[in-house]
C-alpha cells in the first residue's frame, strides 16, 4: 500500500544520512500485517456484525442500528457500564498507589526486602482460576477466612460476594491482590533510575523524608506513573475472569462487567450481533478514555 509513496521518500532521503527507502517499511511491516489481519479486519468485521441479528452458527439478518437501540434500553447492559467504570476507579488508583508504596518501602538491598518483593510478586503468577478459588474461600461468610477473623472479635460475618454493595469491591480487592506485582516492579525499576545525587542534594538541603519523596522521588518517576496508569486502565477495563468465577456478575447485576456481558451474550446466548454491538460500545469508551488521557498527557508534556 505504501510502495509508491515510499519511492518519494527515497529520492528525498538518499542524499541524507537517514537513507530512507522502501526498506523503511520492512521494520513496521511484520507488525502491521498481523495488526491488520488480527485487529483491523476483525474490528470492522465486528462492526459489520453489530448491525446484524446474528446467530453463533451463521445465520444473519441485517437490522441496522437495532442492536444499539436495544442496548441503550437494556438495564443489565447499562449496569455493566457503571460496574466497569466503578471497578476501574476502585482498582487503578489503588494499584498505582499501593504499588508505589511497596516499591518505596522495598527499594533497599536487605534480605528481608528481597523476600518481601518475592512475596508481593508471587500472586501474579497464579492463574485466575486459582486466585478466585482462594478468595472465595477468604470471603465466604460461612467459615471463610474473614468471617473466622470477625468471629474472633465477636462480629457477625459479612457476605461480601452476595451483597450488592460489597461484591464489586470484593472483586476489586482480589484483583489488587492478584495484580500488585507488576506496578510494584515497574516502580522499583523506576526508583533505581533516580540518580543518587538527587537524594544527596535533598539531604544537604535538609529535606525531610516526605519532602524528599514529594519533590525528588515522585517527579523523577512521573513517566513510570503514567505508564502504570495506562497499563492498568487497559487491563482492568477488561475485567472478566474474576467476576465470572467469583460472583457470576451478581447479585442483582451488581458486579457484572461489560466484558462478562459480551461473553454471556455471545457465547451463552449465541446472540453475537448483540454481543458485537456491546463490544463496539466498549471500544468507543476505551477509545475516548485513551484519547482523553493522550491529550491530557500531551498538554502536560508541552507545559
Amino acid at each position: 500500500m505504501s510502495v509508491a509513496a515510499a519511492h518519494v521518500t527515497d529520492s528525498r532521503e538518499t542524499r541524507s544520512g537517514a537513507r530512507g527507502d522502501w526498506s523503511s517499511l520492512l521494520y513496521v511491516a511484520p507488525f502491521l500485517l498481523i495488526y491488520i489481519v488480527l485487529v483491523v479486519y476483525p474490528l470492522f468485521s465486528g462492526m459489520w456484525l453489530s448491525l446484524h441479528k446474528a446467530d453463533f452458527f451463521g445465520e444473519r439478518v441485517f437490522v441496522g442500528l437495532e442492536n444499539f437501540t436495544r442496548l441503550l434500553a437494556d438495564k443489565v447492559f447499562l449496569g455493566t457500564l457503571w460496574n466497569t467504570f466503578y471497578f476501574i476507579v476502585l482498582t487503578v488508583p489503588a494499584l498505582a498507589i499501593i504499588g508505589l508504596g511497596l516499591a518505596l518501602a522495598l527499594n533497599r538491598t536487605t534480605r528481608a526486602a528481597a523476600v518481601l518483593r518475592g512475596v508481593f510478586f508471587s500472586s501474579s503468577v497464579l492463574s485466575v482460576t486459582i486466585v478466585t478459588l482462594l478468595w472465595r474461600v477468604v470471603f465466604i461468610p460461612d467459615g471463610g477466612f474473614i468471617a473466622t477473623v470477625l468471629e474472633m472479635f465477636g462480629k457477625p460475618p459479612v457476605a461480601f460476594l452476595s451483597d450488592e454493595d460489597l461484591a464489586l469491591p470484593a472483586i476489586a480487592i482480589t484483583t489488587i491482590w492478584w495484580c500488585i506485582g507488576l506496578p510494584m516492579m515497574l516502580f522499583l525499576a523506576a526508583l533505581q533510575q533516580v540518580p543518587k545525587e538527587l537524594y544527596e542534594a535533598a539531604a544537604l538541603d535538609n529535606a525531610g523524608r516526605w519532602k524528599t519523596l514529594w519533590s525528588v522521588t515522585l517527579p523523577s518517576i512521573r513517566r513510570t506513573f503514567a505508564l502504570v496508569i495506562i497499563i492498568e486502565i487497559v487491563l482492568q477495563f477488561q475485567l472478566f475472569g474474576q467476576a465470572q468465577l467469583m460472583t457470576l456478575g451478581g447479585p442483582n447485576n451488581a458486579s457484572r462487567p461489560i466484558v462478562l456481558f459480551i461473553y454471556e451474550v455471545g457465547f451463552n446466548r449465541w446472540d453475537i450481533g448483540y454481543a458485537a454491538a456491546a463490544a463496539q460500545i466498549l471500544f468507543g469508551l476505551i477509545l475516548m478514555a485513551a484519547l482523553a488521557q493522550y491529550f491530557v498527557a500531551r498538554r502536560k508534556g508541552e507545559a
Binding site: F57, R136, I140, P141, D142, F267, R269
Partner: protein
C-alpha cells in the same frame, strides 16, 4: 537476541505442524465430570469406583481394555463446556461424542449440529423404548432421538434425620414433609425452634440455576403452563408470586442458610448447618458415606426425597439429564461404529453410573433389583416418572435459568420487590427468546 529470535522462528515453524490429526480408528470423547487420573487413571474395576469422575473414568478405561482396536481419546472440559463445544463446532473441529445436558440439546439440534441417533442406537441394541419417560422426553425432539440418555437428575431434599427427629418431624422413621407452602413455613419454624438451626441449607450465593429450578418445580406442581408458547415465558402470575414469596419468607425469618456458595453449602449440610439441603442427585453417594461415619452430624441420620408436593394440582419435579450426543461430523465407518460400540457399552453399564446418585436412564435398570438395593433409591425412583423438563421447543435454557436466577436472588433476599423481579425476569427472558434467530425446521 539474534539467537533467541532464530530459536523462536524455528520453534514456531515446528509448532505450526503440530496440529492434532485423528487416526481412522480414533474417537474423541469429550466430557465434563472432572479429572481424577491420579486415583482412577489406570483402574478398570468399575464396581470399585466412586463419584461421577471415578465411575466414568473407569468405565472408559474398561472399554479401552475390552476394545483394543479402538483408540479412545478423552478430552475433559470445564463444566458445562458448551462455550468450548460451540467454538469447536464453529471451527469444524467437533469431538465424536460429547456429554450434553438434555436441556441443551434443543439449542444444538435446532442449528443442525447434532446427528439423529435413534436408528443406529436401535441397531446396536440400545432400544429407545427402554428409556425412562423422563429420559425419553429429554432426548426427543420432533419424534427423533438426538442423544443417548445417561441419567436423569433432579434437585432433591437431602435430609438430616437427626435434626428432624429433634424437631419432632419424624414419624415411622420417615421424615414428616410439608404438603403446602404454609405447612412448610410452619415446620421450618418448628424446626428452628427445636434445633436452633435453619430448616434449609441452600447455596444461594453465586448459584443462579438453583433459584430457577425451585421455581420450575413448584410452577409445575401448580400445573402452571408458564411456557405455553416456547418463545414466551409467563412469570407475572399468582403461582410464581406465591413461590417466590414463600422463599422470601423463609429467608427473612432465617429459616435457611443465607450466604453460602455451593461448596460451603455442600460442606455445611455435612457439618450440620441445617435440616434440608436442596441439591441434586449427585450428592447422595457422598452423604450416604458420611452417614456411616461415627460422631458426625449425619451419623445414621441421612435420607433423601424428591421435592415434596406442596401443591395439590400435580406431582412433578423439574428434572434434567445427562446424555451423550454426536455432533455432525465426517467420520470413517470405523469411527462411527466405534462410537456406537462405546454408547452400547455405556448403556449396558448404566447401573454403575446410577451409583453416583443419578437416576438410571433405562427402565430395565430402574426396575432391577440391584438398583433398588442401592440406598434411598426407592424414595427417589419416582422421579423417572414425575421428572419433567421444560417443553421441547424452549431454547437457550441455560441462559434462561441464569436470567431467572439472577432476578429471583435479590427478590428472595429482600433487595428487590417480588413484583419487580418477576416482571424483569419475564421481560429479560422474553427479550432473549425473541432475539433467538428463527431456525428453519428440520434439516
Amino acid at each position: 537476541m539474534k539467537r533467541r529470535a532464530f530459536a523462536g522462528l524455528a520453534g514456531a515453524a515446528l509448532l505450526a505442524g503440530c496440529g492434532v490429526s485423528q487416526a481412522p480408528n480414533e474417537i474423541v470423547v469429550q466430557r465434563f465430570f472432572g479429572t481424577c487420573n491420579a486415583q482412577y487413571g489406570s483402574q478398570t474395576d468399575v464396581a470399585a469406583a466412586q463419584t461421577e469422575c471415578g465411575i466414568i473414568t473407569t468405565l472408559i478405561n474398561k472399554f479401552r481394555a475390552e476394545n483394543p482396536d479402538i483408540k479412545v481419546t478423552v478430552s475433559t472440559v470445564a463444566w458445562p463446556g458448551y462455550n468450548q463445544l460451540s467454538a469447536q463446532m464453529a471451527t469444524g473441529d467437533a469431538p465424536d461424542v460429547v456429554t450434553m445436558h438434555e436441556s441443551a440439546i434443543p439449542d444444538f439440534q435446532s442449528r443442525h449440529l447434532l446427528e439423529p441417533m435413534g436408528e443406529e442406537l436401535r441397531a446396536v441394541g440400545v432400544e429407545p423404548d427402554n428409556f425412562t419417560e423422563a429420559s425419553l422426553k429429554g432426548v426427543t425432539i420432533a419424534g427423533n432421538v438426538w442423544g443417548m440418555p445417561f441419567d436423569t437428575w433432579a434437585p432433591l431434599w437431602h435430609i438430616n434425620m437427626n435434626y428432624f427427629r429433634q424437631a419432632g418431624l419424624v414419624r415411622d422413621d420417615k421424615p414428616i414433609l410439608p404438603s403446602s407452602p404454609e405447612e412448610l413455613i410452619e415446620q421450618a419454624r418448628q424446626f428452628k425452634k427445636a434445633t436452633g438451626k435453619p430448616y434449609f441449607v441452600q447455596a444461594l450465593a453465586n448459584q443462579k440455576p438453583a433459584y430457577s429450578r425451585n421455581l420450575y418445580t413448584y410452577l409445575m406442581q401448580q400445573d402452571a403452563d408458564f411456557f405455553a408458547d416456547p418463545k414466551r415465558i409467563k412469570l407475572r402470575t399468582p403461582e410464581a408470586r406465591r413461590i417466590v414469596e414463600m422463599f422470601r419468607t423463609l429467608y427473612e425469618e432465617g429459616l435457611t442458610t443465607r450466604d453460602q456458595d455451593y461448596a460451603a453449602a455442600t460442606r455445611g449440610f455435612m457439618n450440620g448447618d441445617g435440616g434440608v439441603y436442596l441439591v441434586g442427585t449427585w450428592m447422595i453417594g457422598d452423604y450416604e458415606a458420611e452417614s456411616r461415619r461415627p460422631d458426625r452430624p449425619l451419623s445414621n441420620g441421612y435420607t433423601v426425597y424428591p421435592y415434596p408436593q406442596l401443591f395439590p394440582e400435580k406431582d412433578a419435579t423439574f428434572a434434567d439429564g445427562h446424555s451423550w450426543v454426536m455432533p455432525v461430523k465426517e467420520r470413517t465407518p470405523q469411527q462411527r461404529q466405534a462410537v456406537y460400540r462405546l454408547l452400547k457399552f455405556l448403556a449396558d453399564n448404566n447401573f454403575q453410573w446410577a451409583r453416583t446418585g443419578h437416576l438410571p436412564a433405562f427402565t430395565s435398570v430402574i426396575e432391577s433389583a440391584e438398583f433398588k438395593a442401592l440406598p434411598y433409591r426407592d424414595n427417589i425412583a419416582k422421579i423417572a416418572l414425575t421428572g419433567t423438563p421444560l417443553p421441547a421447543g424452549v431454547e437457550r435454557r441455560f441462559a434462561i435459568e441464569d436470567t431467572i436466577g439472577e432476578e429471583l436472588a435479590p427478590a428472595i433476599a429482600g433487595q428487590k420487590s417480588v413484583e419487580a423481579a418477576l416482571f424483569d425476569a419475564e421481560h429479560r427472558v422474553n427479550d432473549l427468546l425473541f432475539h433467538v434467530l428463527a431456525t428453519s425446521g428440520e434439516p
